[in-house]
């Protein structure tokens, strides 16, 4: 090989960049995501269920909340009928946070893990029953 020194340096850089996530993580144990469902309201529930199935909620709660926001603020509808026929109020504070009152151990821990930063908390309080930030 001609110019082998330069080419090998280049290839080493390439491998370091291309496989960089492997080099950083090798040997570490991937921390599993931990979510706490341990809140007073959820502990009182007979059936530990969210307003829709947990799988559906994990993948779709953001679209659902976005839809709710439009429904409430623009259309004035406030009632959500779940796929099981249950009726819920379309609200963050009066719905999600009634049960998931542990925002920092539930919503936030998952969002930090997946690197999402909902800007909702600029205005919404994220606590049970409380209204918007002043």
């Amino acid at each position: 090989m001609y110019n082998s020194r330069k080419i090998i340096i280049g290839l080493v850089i390439f491998v370091l960049v291309a496989a960089f996530p492997f080099f950083i993580n090798v040997g570490k144990t991937a921390q599993p995501l931990q979510l706490s469902l341990n809140t007073p309201t959820i502990n009182q529930l007979e059936k530990k269920e969210c307003i829709e199935s947990a799988d559906y909620m994990r993948a779709n709660h953001m679209r659902m909340l976005n839809e709710w926001r439009d429904q409430v603020v623009r259309e004035g509808n406030t009632v959500y009928t779940s796929s099981s026929g249950q009726k819920y109020e379309m609200s963050l504070e009066n719905n999600c946070f009634q049960c998931h009152s542990n925002k920092s151990n539930f919503c936030d821990s998952c969002h930090t893990y997946s690197q999402v930063d909902p800007y909702c908390w600029d205005c919404h309080n994220g606590t049970k029953g409380a209204g918007l930030k002043q």
Binding site: M1, Y2, N3, S4, I7, G10, L11, F14, V15, A18, A19, P21, F22, I24, N25, V26, G27, K28, T29, A30, Q31, P32, L33, D55, R58, A59, N60, M62, R63, L65, N66, C110, T112, Y113, S114, Q115, V116, D117, Y119
Partner: protein
Amino acid sequence: MKVWFSLLAVIILALTAWVGVEILHLNTLFGIIIPYTAIAVFIGGFIIRVVRWGKSPVPFCITTTCGQQQSLPWIKQNKIENPTNTWGVIWRMVLEVTLFRSLFRNTKTEKIEDKLVFGSAQWLWFGSLVFHWSMLIILLRHLRFFLNPVPGLIIGLESLDSFLQIGVPLLYITDVLLVAALTYLFLRRVMIPNIKYISQIADYFPVLLLLGIAASGILGRYVYGVDVAAVKELTMSLVSFKPTTSTTIGTIFYIHIFLVSSLAVYFPCSKLMHAGGIFLSPTRNLANNSRIERYINPWNYEVEKHHYSEYEDEFRDKMRKVGLPLEKE
């Protein structure tokens, strides 16, 4: 024909992943084995290609230049276009790789009223620049799946990219740019007759495959909803070599990474290797110093020489006998 074949190939790839996960439930195959294989083929293939290039000699100093070369002290040298040392070459290469300067010089020849007219044509440069930069930013943003905790740089990039705050999940600007640029690059090939004439499957397929990857990523993010937390558990397990499967991730994600894996395998066998090739292009990576340093062709064989003094040593006696003049008695 070639367009349809490429399109069909991408559709078949996507369907393969769909059938494999949705019907046959081969989550381990599509979530672990294929991605691992693909990255190994990608890195290994890339190295093989570069080493093979390294083995071919460059007989001449054939750098391309388009600026004043180094000359008399009062003539200003264009150090970027006509570098004479390694630093100049590095600088030129950096600008080439980040800004595609040689593509910027693209010209178009047209016949306007019986006259041949040359004009600059920068749309190709613009389209490919937008595409490459969007893809780079998307790949960097994707690092959030592979690093825990996510570094601030990636977080910053992500919030910058989504600062328009449209919809939920927030729309990324680069997603729009990527699709727009790829669409332009594809339409350019099918709409302009002379470019269509020289286009091959190897030209259409990568563009369509990238469009397929972008489409599956975008559908997963904005339409179907991918359980991102579960994806991250999968990707983190992959990069720490303790793979686990998950059943809660939607099929659209498996289509996405199957197409990405296909791209990774296809990469070293295709024109996409220009990513590595640019650094090995003699016209770009040589300094124009052929009047300063001697360029030795690596092909040159040893020329056997027989110096006069050796000749005289060999024939001294005979030369003396016939009275020829000798340099050394």
